[in-house]
Symmetry: C2
């Protein structure tokens, strides 16, 4: 996948690999999170993410941030990633400490670095559009802005946060435009989301961030001084024999915060690059079904199926079981070795409630 | 279950155990037919049938007629049944040869016998009503009639054959009445079935037959002379060393016929005893769901289920898999180790089409 000719000087990619993807239960589990699954093709979502970023930067300038439970699997899924580039969070602490530590570790090695962060479990189908958006974002980041790539909304989605842009252009060119951003907003209600869609000024926040490492360091020092002090201390000990002790001790005393509310919402100069790159967060079974080729009756099928009068449904079998459906419309059926889900396609958001119920029943094996 | 005090002199019970119960796939299979399954309680349908008939006659006067593939399992499921009372049909040949052979074998042992035949895979909930109907039928059989017990229809069912009765009483008493029957009719269309229901003269044919062995022998000799000659030859060799050879040879040359069209429809004196005994043929998943206790939302559940907004559905898990349903109404979900069925509750008759498709795909293991 790597095309060295187009690698970008000083670009470092960070891939936060957190979250299990509860709404894709029973396929996704705590021990087998969404980013580790080959949902779209033969490669897993984190492998596809790694492939995307190594078009732009060599694999030794890619860092993955993950929990202790997933480090080994990630090491195996990404054989080209140097072992030392897997950064383990001792405990989940929100995205701000995770990205701040990556930023500090990169800055120690390359003070001129540009850091670009992309979630491990999203899908992008238009790679050229992705590249163009990143290159535009890098140009804006070089001005000192904290930059996001915002996806042009295609529906009044209430499940995502939004970024409002101004008309003020920070950089522009053949590859795209970065605008000054005016605010980050949390998930809206449907009425508000509809207004956002119609306004043309709001973009989906897909947690794609690009900044100069010194820009983030400066904003962290201003907005999250405890986090910045903590990650500086950890980064200083990183190549010493004290690394694990310092990391664990400092991490546990650091405040929890997300990069969105903890930094971006109050940062001085934030820019956003609108982009349309065939992006999806692969969030639930309905959405996943839409990303995969459908048969003439609108069905998305994995596994062996005998179907009679079945339409607009998703049948996903990971077991070797034969599946048969008759007279079924708009239903998702997910069959795994130890659990079976049958859900109305309009209720896929509620799959997380099943996981909650399994927690309440202490079915640790299944969640 | 056996209450010797109420056993009826010269009564012999025959249980034809054929048919796999295709519409209960994937639970029922060729190798594990419906009658071998504990669908209603802890005992299998054939065990419950055996329990019903041994209220009326001792177990050494019960014969089971089955195919070679099921003899061993039946021997284990019915430990009180003498081994010699399992009659194996070399090949399926319709019900007329099967019942004719049982009749001939009984007649050799007990020329005064009354034979009563009941399918192995039906359900009866009112045992006292069953007993009364059989006793009334026996009184009519003693007059020389071929007698059926006909179930009072409760809906315009198009899946069953019907028996029309006349107003002519053959026998009557506290326990019931046997009427002269005018005809047997095949499965009607809905309009005809509705007329039948309204007429009050039509009864469901549930293949419950009672006759004196000499009465059937006489009618067979008149209507199916080849079958009668064949079973006489087989019965004569039954206790000799030639039994298997004669049975196989004669059986393969005997015409195939059902007792309904081959004998009953043209018999000279046929009587029918109307009865209402909580009968069901346990024919499909919708019907099976109705026979089992439902929760307050109308769901019939076997196995472990997490359900959210699920109504009027059947969830039957034979695997140890956890099943979760969300927003599902009027659906049947059947989960077994190697196959999964999801069917709209109104389409349960079409489950047989799935089995046809599996045959076409040469999935012998699954059918």
């Amino acid at each position: 996948m790597t095309t060295n000719g187009s690698h970008i000087d000083h670009l470092w990619a960070v891939i936060p690999a957190g979250g299990s993807g509860t709404r894709l239960w029973p396929l996704s589990r705590a021990a087998r999170p969404k980013f580790m699954l080959p949902l779209l093709g033969d490669r897993t979502l984190i492998q596809q993410t790694f492939d995307r970023v190594t078009r732009l930067t060599p694999s030794d300038r890619v860092l993955v941030v993950c929990g202790p439970a997933h480090a080994a699997a990630i090491a195996r899924q990404l054989p080209d990633l140097p072992e030392g580039n897997i950064i383990i969070e001792p405990t989940p602490n929100g995205t701000a400490p995770a990205l701040a530590l990556a930023n500090a570790l990169i800055q120690r090695q390359d003070p001129l670095a540009i850091m670009a962060s992309f979630a491990a479990d999203h899908d992008v189908t238009d790679l050229d559009a992705f590249d163009r958006a990143v290159r535009t974002a890098i140009r804006a980041a070089k001005l000192g802005d904290l930059v996001t790539i915002g996806l042009t909304p295609t529906r009044p989605e209430t499940g995502y946060g939004y970024i409002e842009r101004t008309a003020e252009v920070r950089v522009t060119g053949d590859e795209g435009t970065a605008y000054k951003s005016s605010r980050f907003v949390e998930k809206p209600d449907l009425e508000t989301a509809t207004e956002y869609l119609e306004s043309g000024r709001f973009l989906w926040n897909a947690s794609m961030f690009i900044w100069r490492v010194d820009s983030l360091t400066n904003e962290l020092a201003r907005l999250q001084p405890e986090i910045q002090a903590g990650v500086t201390e950890i980064a200083r000990a990183w190549n010493s024999r004290n690394r694990e002790r310092v990391h664990a001790q400092v991490w546990s005393t650091m405040p929890s915060a997300t990069i969105d509310t903890g930094v971006m919402e109050n940062a001085e100069r934030v820019a956003v690059v609108p982009a349309d790159m065939g992006w999806s967060d692969v969030g639930d079974w309905h959405g996943l079904g839409e990303l995969i080729e459908q048969d003439s009756a609108g069905n998305t099928i994995r596994g062996e199926l005998v179907q009679i009068d079945t339409t607009n449904s998703v049948v996903w079998s990971e077991s070797r079981r034969m599946v048969a459906t008759i007279g079924i419309n708009n239903v998702v059926i997910v069959d795994t070795e130890d659990a079976l889900l049958v859900v109305d396609r309009g209720r896929c958001q509620d799959v997380r409630k099943v996981v909650d119920e399994l927690k309440a029943r202490a079915k640790q094996r299944l969640i």
